[in-house]
Structures are given as C-alpha cells and as structure tokens.
C-alpha cells in the first residue's frame, strides 16, 4: 500500500517563515563578525588583557573543567587586585569545549579570533590539548596546559607549554612507590583504551616497574563509559596480583574497585591524577579505601604558598581545593607572569617570556620550565581514606 504522503499540519506557513528567518539571522550574524576583524587587538590598547581558557564545562569531564576554571579565576582575581598587569586589568574568557575534539577547534579559534586572547589556557585531557595545541602553534598564540600529562603535547611546537609533570614520570613515580614503599613485585594493569592518558601511564608504569625489578602479571583493558569490568577482573584474578594499576579516570575506577573486591581481589589499587574527585569515594565506597594514586599536590602536606591557595579556594568555594584547581591557578599565573615580564601583549613576546619561566612561586611548587617547555617537579602519592586523601610519599624527579 502506498504510504501516506507527508502532510504538514497547522502552523506550516509561519514555521517555514521562522526557519527561513533563522537561517538568515545565522548568516547575517556570521557576516557581522566579519566587520572589524582579521586584526589582532592592538598592543597599545587600554582595555582589559584577555586570557582565554578552553575547558570541558559540560560533558563527562565537567568536574575537571570546573576545577581548573576555579583555579584560574582565583589567579586572575588576585592579579587584578594587585592592579592587573602592564596597567591593565585581566579578563578571563572561558569557553566550553564539551569534552569533544570537534568542539575544541571551534572554542580555541573563537578565543583567538573573536575574543582576542593573548594566550590560552587548557586542556586537562591530553587528547584535547593535542588538537588545541596544533591550532595554537599554527596561529602562534601561546598555550599553557594545566594538567595534560601526555608527552606528545609539548612536542607539537614551541608555542605549547605545560605546568604539570609528564606521564612517563607519573608512571615511574607509582612504580617506584609500589616497589619501595608497598614492597610488591607482582602487579596487573587495567587500562582505558579510549584514552591517550591512560595508555601512556600504563606504558610508563610497566616499563618502570620492570626496570625496578617487578613483574607485570596481566594486562587488560576497558573503555571509558563501561560499567562492567567483571570479565577482565575475572581474567586477572588467577594470576594473584599483589597490586592492580588502574590509570584511568575516577568515573570508572570506583566501579572497578567494587567489582574487584566483589570478586575477591584484595590487592590495593593504584592510579594516577585522573582519580582525583570527591566522586571517587562516593562511587567506590569502602572498596576504594586503602588504594593509592599519584597527584600533583596533597592538600594535607602543603607549603606556605599552597596553604594560601587552599585558604583562598575554601573561602570562595567552600570546599577543599583539588589538584586540578591548583594547576589551573598555576597555568594562569604563568601566563600572567609572562605578560608582565615580556612588558607587552604581543604573543611572540609572551611566548619568549613563558619559555624563560624560572622559579615562579606557584602553588604546586617552584615552577621552572625546561627546554622542552615542561616543568621539573616531584610527584606525591596519596592514599584514599574514608574522610579524604592523605599524603603517603613524595617521589622526586629522576
């Protein structure tokens, strides 16, 4: 039988008109941004200096983005309270990239072309930083990543910087901790194949752990978003691991801990800075207590500078400061400091100043960037307890 033809119901004419107007509005809006653009903001202008940030404010990694943003906001506020930089106030523009690679490009270009950002800060996830870094390098706008730990990020070019340690070091730090402090020699690895970060850490840990005399008794993988890990854990159980290295994000680690304990795997879990979130304990409950992860700073072993930041964060947001917030602060601080030392808002000058960042008094330690635009810093290992994370050890750089 012939299917009934598509028939429009009432409201057809007005709706068509509406759709047409919408299209026209969109095109006009696009054309509108043509006027007066294609020129970078004048270096001698007197308006606020724009520092851009592209972060995941929505999507599954929204907590990471929110934490980083909060740190950046505090950095900008403190700088403005001290009179800004070069006699001008600093304006922080944060754009949401929804945690998707496709959107990162749009966000970064908008910051550069529409908002006139002098430098940009972002991202947390290395996959996203790689996409943005390539655009920043091509457009010659300096970019500072607060917490992307994958080696490839700063290898893109001389306009890309970071203020956190790298995954090879982070993996090594946990391996060293496992061998020396936990004194274990048999570890199984459960990594997230969807994630550069997780793969990089797993790889680094494996290499370091073997080098330090341990053995890897099994490697399994999962995908971000999975909820069932019992198959992989059941496979790993017979090799009796003394530790389980799970370098993924907190979103899955909680579930992994529960299902591991449920299957009778009693070994402690270990991980990286992607574990850090209040949700970790909410989801993992009693099963994640007693596990360890490497991080950028521990809120219960602070330096005077960190104490200051923690107090400011608590005053503003009424909760303990996560490491990502501290890194967001440090990245923004590095940019502001570079603009001051450069004495100009010209991106090239800012870049050159960033490259010579030395002993900057940052929250996560004194910040010095090496020739590859990476910082030289120690890692801390924390242990998960019912109440929060407690400091266990500091691992100095190799």
């Amino acid at each position: 039988m012939k299917p009934p033809p598509l028939r429009s119901r009432k409201l057809s004419r007005p709706l068509t008109l509406l759709l047409g107007l919408w299209l026209a509005a969109g095109l006009l809006g696009a054309l509108g941004t043509l006027t007066g653009c294609k020129q970078r903001p004048d270096e001698n202008a007197t308006g606020p200096i724009v520092v851009g940030a592209y972060l995941s404010m929505t999507g599954s990694m929204a907590t990471f983005g929110e934490s980083s943003k909060r740190g950046a906001v505090i950095a900008v506020e403190e700088a403005n309270q001290r009179g800004g930089v070069l006699g001008r106030k600093i304006e922080l523009v944060v754009l949401d990239d929804q945690g998707r690679a496709e959107e990162v490009g749009n966000a970064v270009l908008r910051l550069i072309d529409v908002n006139g950002a002098v430098a940009i800060m972002g991202e947390v996830a290395s996959t996203l930083s790689l996409v943005a870094g390539r655009i920043a390098q091509r457009r010659k706008i300096p970019m500072v990543s607060p917490s992307s730990t994958n080696t490839a990020v700063t290898q893109i070019g001389d306009y890309v910087f970071r203020v956190c340690f790298l995954d090879p070091f982070q993996g090594y730090a946990m391996a060293k901790f496992a061998r020396e402090k936990l004194k274990i020699s048999r570890v199984a690895i459960l990594k997230d194949v969807r994630n550069d970060y997780s793969l990089g850490l797993a790889d680094a840990f494996e290499k370091a752990f073997k080098r330090l005399g341990g053995s890897i008794v099994g490697i399994e993988s999962y995908s971000a978003g999975d909820t069932e890990f019992s198959a992989q854990l059941t496979k790993l159980k017979p090799s009796l691991p003394e530790g389980l290295y799970v370098p993924g994000y907190y979103t899955e680690v909680g579930g992994i801990a529960r299902q591991a304990r449920r299957l009778g795997i009693k070994a402690p879990l270990m991980g990286g800075d992607g574990w850090e979130s209040p949700e970790l304990r909410n989801i993992g409950g009693a099963d994640i207590v007693g596990s360890y992860y490497s991080n950028h700073f521990a809120s219960d072993q602070p330096t005077p500078r960190a104490t200051q930041f923690i107090a400011a964060y608590r005053a503003k947001y009424n909760e303990a400061a996560p490491a990502l917030a501290a890194l967001g602060y440090d990245a923004t601080l590095a940019i502001i400091d570079a603009i001051r030392r450069a004495g100009s808002t010209h991106p090239k000058a800012v870049r050159d100043a960033l490259a010579t960042t030395k002993e900057l008094d940052a929250v996560t330690g004194k910040l010095t960037l090496d020739a590859n635009r990476n910082p030289v810093k120690p890692a801390v290992v924390v242990r998960v307890t019912e109440a929060g994370e407690v400091f266990e050890a500091e691992v100095p750089p190799e």
Binding site: L11, L23, A30, L34, M57, T58, A101, D113, L130, I156
Partner: protein
C-alpha cells in the same frame, strides 16, 4: 565536441572564481567564521548524498557516519603516504603539489567508502523500513568499532598521521566549494534523470516498480553506493580540516545529524539538503552559548518539526540547482 570545450572552459572559470573567492575570504574573514562555513559545506555534501538514498529512494539508512569514517581514514592515510612518497621530507606543500596529493586521496577515499557501501548495501537492502534502519545503524557502529580497535589507524585516540602537527590542513574554501558543486551537480542530475525517476518509483511502491520492470535491487544498491561515496568524500575533507580524526567523531550522533539535515531541508529535495545542512551547522554554532540548553533545544526542534512540519523547509520542491535542467524537475 564544442559543447565539451565550452563545458571545460566554464569549469576552469568556476574553479578560478572559487580559488579567488577562497583567498579573499582567508585574508578578510576570521578563521573562526570561515571554519564554520567550511563545516556547513562539508555537511552539504553529506546531506546531498544521504538524500539520494533516504529521500529519493526512500530507503532509510541511519548509519552513514560509518562511510564518512571510511572516507576520512582512507583519505588521511593516503595523503600521509602519498606526500611522503612524492615529496619526501617536505613539510609544507604548494597548491599544485597539494592537488596532486589531495585529489587522488579523496578519490581513493570515495572508492573505499563506495566499497564499504556495497558490502553493507547488498545484504541489507533486502530488508524494509525499520529493519533496514537498524541494520545500517549496526553496520555504522561496527565500522567505527573496527577503527577503534585498529592500531594502524591510531585506535581510540585517533589518527594524526604520525606528525606532531597532525594531519595537514588542506581543506579550504576552494576545495569544499569545488567538490561541493561537483557533488550537487552530479547528484542533482542523477535525481532528475530517468534513473532518479526509477528510484522515486521504488520509494513510492517497490513492488509495483518491480512489477513494472525496474531492477529494484540493482538500483537500490547503486543509490546506496553513490551516497556512501559522497559521505566518504565529505569524510576526506573533514579529516583535513581537523588535525586528528577519532572514531568518536563518527558516532551514531553524526548519523543522526545527517538525517536531521535532510529532514529539516526537505526529504527528497537536493537544494533542501543543502539548506538543511547550513541550517544545522549554523544552529549548532549559534547555540553554543546556550551550553546545557543547546542539545535540549536541538531535540525539541526535531520533535516539533516532526509533529508540525515533517516535510521540512522545502518538502520535495527545489530551488534552482546549478547545471541541472530546470524543465526536468517536474511539479512537486
């Protein structure tokens, strides 16, 4: 003979205009806006191709993102290896060299996608309606999962050609406009030819069409393969606008975006597909500031559209399509 010379000359002029326009836009328009325009152009190619199978032939496919992926990965892979082979060690290429690398790569991407379309189409097109939709959905996801698990193509973290700066950004106004025009002209002519009429007959009543002597299976597969090829070309252009392509770029969401484009524009209308593509592209960017409300408005728009104007903007009518004989386009 003279007709072909005239056509050749016209083609050269058009290409020249596009090139000039492209350079002018690059110099005067901010990259942010230009990039959106390019995305809309790529969307148009996707939409026009999908419209051929979903609209004109009435065979509902919701897994076309898979073919886009095949085209994207194949083109990117070819570009990386071809440029290494032809111009070893050279980082930046001049326009002529780019064409030498990009055109064969796009063609190869289209061919690979067409092949994938054939592999998917032949068994699937025996099914009707909902079942066809689900099978295409399944195939789309399987293709994506294959790339996800393939280390040669970078797996889940994506393919950036092994260079720190990622895939070379070849896609610009010139390429999108030229390829876009070509696709629109080709598919427009196909739609308003005797083949197109046969496809519409299949849409309206497949059994009657078969009884009237139309080789329905062959034509369905043909339309499917052609639409897969266009999705592949769009994928190739897409790949060289981003520095990385990841399996996550080709999820079910992308297939749905394509379907929304042709429905908004008008299922069965070639110019409608282009309109719908621009509409979706612009809307998604304009509503960026709405953050959480963005996808909610998108979904509401879709539902309202289906309830009150399912034929979209143009229904089956057409605006002028360049180089397609106006008289062939009959009454709606």
């Amino acid at each position: 003979m003279l007709m072909w010379l005239k056509r050749g000359a016209m083609a050269v002029v058009i290409l020249g205009v596009f090139y000039g326009l492209g350079r002018a836009l690059e110099d005067n328009v901010i990259e942010y806006v230009l990039r959106i325009v390019l995305f809309c152009g790529i969307n148009s190619i996707l939409a026009v191709g999908l419209n051929l199978i979903n609209g004109t032939t009435g065979q509902f496919s919701i897994g076309h993102a898979g073919f886009m992926a095949v085209g994207a990965y194949t083109t990117a892979y070819t570009v990386m290896h071809l440029s290494e082979a032809l111009f070893p060690g050279q980082a930046e290429l001049a326009l002529g060299q780019t064409a030498l690398v990009f055109v064969p790569a796009l063609v190869l991407g289209a061919v690979a996608a067409a092949f994938a379309g054939w592999v998917v189409g032949v068994p699937s097109l025996r099914l009707r309606g909902d079942y066809l939709a689900i099978v295409t959905l399944g195939f789309g996801e399987i293709i994506r999962l294959i790339y996800n698990n393939s280390s040669r193509f970078g797996g889940a973290t994506g393919y950036s050609g092994g260079r720190p700066l990622g895939l070379p950004i070849y896609t610009n106004f010139f390429w999108v406009a030229s390829v876009g025009l070509l696709v629109v002209v080709l598919i427009g002519n196909l739609t308003y030819s005797s083949y197109g009429r046969a496809l519409e007959a299949i849409r309206d009543d497949e059994i009657a069409a078969e009884a009237a002597g139309i080789p329905t299976t062959k034509l369905k597969v043909l339309a499917f393969v052609v639409s897969a090829a266009t999705a592949g070309i769009a994928g190739g252009l897409f790949a060289h606008l981003q520095s990385t392509i990841q399996p996550n770029d080709f999820k079910f969401d992308k297939s749905i975006d394509m379907v929304v484009m042709i429905i908004v524009g008008g299922l069965g209308s070639v110019s409608g597909a282009v309109l719908g593509a621009f509409f979706v592209g612009i809307t998604l960017e304009l509503t960026r500031d709405l953050s959480e409300y963005r996808l909610i408005s998108y979904a509401l728009l879709l539902i309202l559209l289906m309830l009150f104007r399912p034929e979209g903007m143009l229904g089956t009518r057409e605006l002028r399509i360049p180089f397609v004989n106006r008289s062939k386009i009959g009454p709606a």
